[in-house]
Subunit: 352 residues, 2 copies
DNA sequence: CCATATATGCTCAGTTTGAGCACATTTGGT
DNA sequence: ACCAAATGTGCTCAAACTGAGCATATATGG
């Protein structure tokens, strides 16, 4: 088939629809509201944390949520500026680094917006900050370890207990459960999806697939949000507290996306320094990376890595009171952005 | 600062706002409409192409656009299913692989939706397909080389002429132009941004930064969309046809995002096979990769790469009439998804 | 002054990568 | 029939990179 082909007919069908899209406000479209949600991440005492705000409980009893608010095209010039002003208002925090994550619009996954209000489409953002960096106002909200919501992601003490004891058994049960007869024979075998996501059966655990794992658990009805959204699920099995704390709306989904994104991104962009103070020791840097990725780094090789990549430069100072020999202090070398196409802490993604 | 701190006050401010977000439809929010846009990419005769549909010209005279339509929460269960049905309707194409790219919401970058209609927020999608794979209906629309819209991205014959002759001079002029006095002293020097995006002055050309380059050109007023959105720009310099064909709305921005994403993604996910027929020779595979990334691959090393990565397996057949020795045919090895965390054609991102 | 803990330099083998040589097997002429 | 041209395929080899560990330096806290 050649590159150029039937061009004319593009004008015929779909024409009215497009016209109405660009001009006439159609009433039968159904009202849409856009929610701006911020997963604000920091590392505090070698613990990865997210900023959580508390509200009245949702249908599943969850009170934890992310700072958020509706996008208002009249007052917000861009989506991101809208997000910033909501975070400022709700948490008293001036965001520094922020990037868009994903836009979720599934029907039925945004509790409380059910049938009464407009359909809510959620745009998730990732923001990176240092704890205690609330410039103008005082921070409201709580910094909470992200592992509270995703205990199966916590590999700091080796493979998390909860996987073997609870998560995998329940998933296996779900995978083996007979699917309704009408289902396609083998779209992708459920057990293969479990294997890919959770690295069972000889496959590898990919620390970046946080969202895939959460979505699988959701689909299997093993997180409380799934029972909130599809109450019929809670009949076969009672809600279990073992699958991490729930969050309001689709905020846990957004937080999962955020965790996966940071974990991926520090490997090819120097965003890790958004989480660091201006001056730091190489070991502090390593600890921060490990807080994000999991602790699997060889110290000497880590310092060789960041030094030879030109990511840091010594300040000339040293830090005493480290409990040992004083450590040289370093700072981020901004020039690296001009030198390399994808500067980041290129540590290996996987463990066995 | 400790991890746990003032939780209570989260309840006070921003409370009304959030309540209204989840329940009462506020009228003062301003109407928002969501546009679903598809950058449908294929490779045809070793040429990377996108599916373009033609419409009545926009303010800048552009008639080319991507298939798109508004999200209708009443009929579309998910954003992606909405996109699929629009593509089906407009192009007669059943989408296979599709992923969300980004959501753009800036005021003033979506022509024709100006003051009359609702504010349009565009969600861009990337879809990968094989040319000629229109299952049910006949395709409408045209496959066009994406370099028609981004000539400066075309490195197939070495560094593109247009960079030295037109783009960089104009960018340099823009970088040197005195900024208005109120501007921050050195947010990031304009010239540094040019350097990072376009690899001038010894820096490297990063083939993945397609969007950054387009946005820089937009900001510098060097693409027609910029003049369409900010007519005052066209006064100092007349519109020039040298900066690639324009597109309607923000579709060129979305296409730029799509190109950057494919270029990045084939390196760590086996999406390249979405563009290939079931059986292919290794050289055909290489040609397809080069169509996407630019032709800089060593043949023997490429085959070593894909074979040792377990991405392909021989079918046992050979293809004659290659113009030389017959080539073994291969197929995608789906099992690789279960074996490796990030399977992809891990070719180096950069050239000098 | 010693045990302990962290900081830092260096080695070394195994692996991966970039580049090229050599040979195989076709097609299309002559 | 035979050769030139073009592509396919196997293999080598040095340079660069990686994973792992040994060894030494310099603090702190009894």
């Amino acid at each position: 088939m050649t590159i150029d082909m039937q061009t004319q007919r593009a004008m015929t069908r779909g024409d009215e629809a497009k016209r109405s899209h660009s001009h006439a406000p159609r009433t039968d479209l159904g009202r849409v509201e856009i929610g701006l949600n911020a997963a604000i991440v920091a590392v505090s005492n070698n613990e990865p944390v997210a900023l959580i705000v508390r509200e009245e409980p949702d249908a599943a009893g969850a009170t934890d949520g992310l700072p958020f608010g509706p996008f208002n095209p009249k007052t917000h010039r861009t989506l991101e500026s809208g997000l910033r002003s909501w975070v400022q208002e709700q948490a008293g925090l001036d965001l520094g680094y922020a990037e868009q994550l994903y836009t979720f619009g599934d029907r039925g996954r945004h509790a409380e917006a059910g049938d009464t209000g407009p359909h809510v489409v959620s745009i998730g953002y990732l923001a990176l900050t240092r704890v205690g960096e609330s410039h103008p106002g005082v921070e409201r909200g709580t910094w909470r370890s992200w592992y509270q919501f995703f205990p199966w992601e916590d590999w700091r003490k080796g493979r998390p207990q909860i996987l073997e004891s609870v998560v995998l058994p329940r998933l296996k049960e779900w995978a083996d459960r007979p699917q309704r007869p009408g289902a396609p024979a083998r779209p992708i075998q459920r057990s293969d999806r479990v294997r890919m996501c959770f690295g069972t059966d000889g496959a590898m655990w990919d620390e970046e697939r946080v969202l895939d794992r959460y979505e699988l658990l959701y689909e299997a009805g093993l997180v409380t949000e799934a029972m909130r959204d599809r109450p019929e699920l809670s009949i076969p099995s009672p809600p279990s507290e073992t699958f991490g704390s729930g969050m309001r709306f689709d905020h846990r989904r957004i937080l999962a996306t955020a965790i996966g994104r940071v974990r991926a991104k520090i490997k090819y962009r120097p965003v890790i320094f958004e989480l660091m103070p201006d001056d730091f020791t190489l070991f502090e840097l390593q600890r921060t990376v490990e807080a994000i990725l999991g602790p699997h780094l060889h110290k000497q090789n880590f310092r060789r890595l960041v030094e030879s990549a030109g990511l840091v430069e010594p300040t000339g100072e040293v830090r005493t009171r480290t409990g040992g020999r004083p450590a040289k202090l370093y700072r981020f070398r901004r020039e690296v952005l001009l030198e390399r196409p994808a500067p980041g802490v290129r540590v290996k993604a996987n463990r066995v």
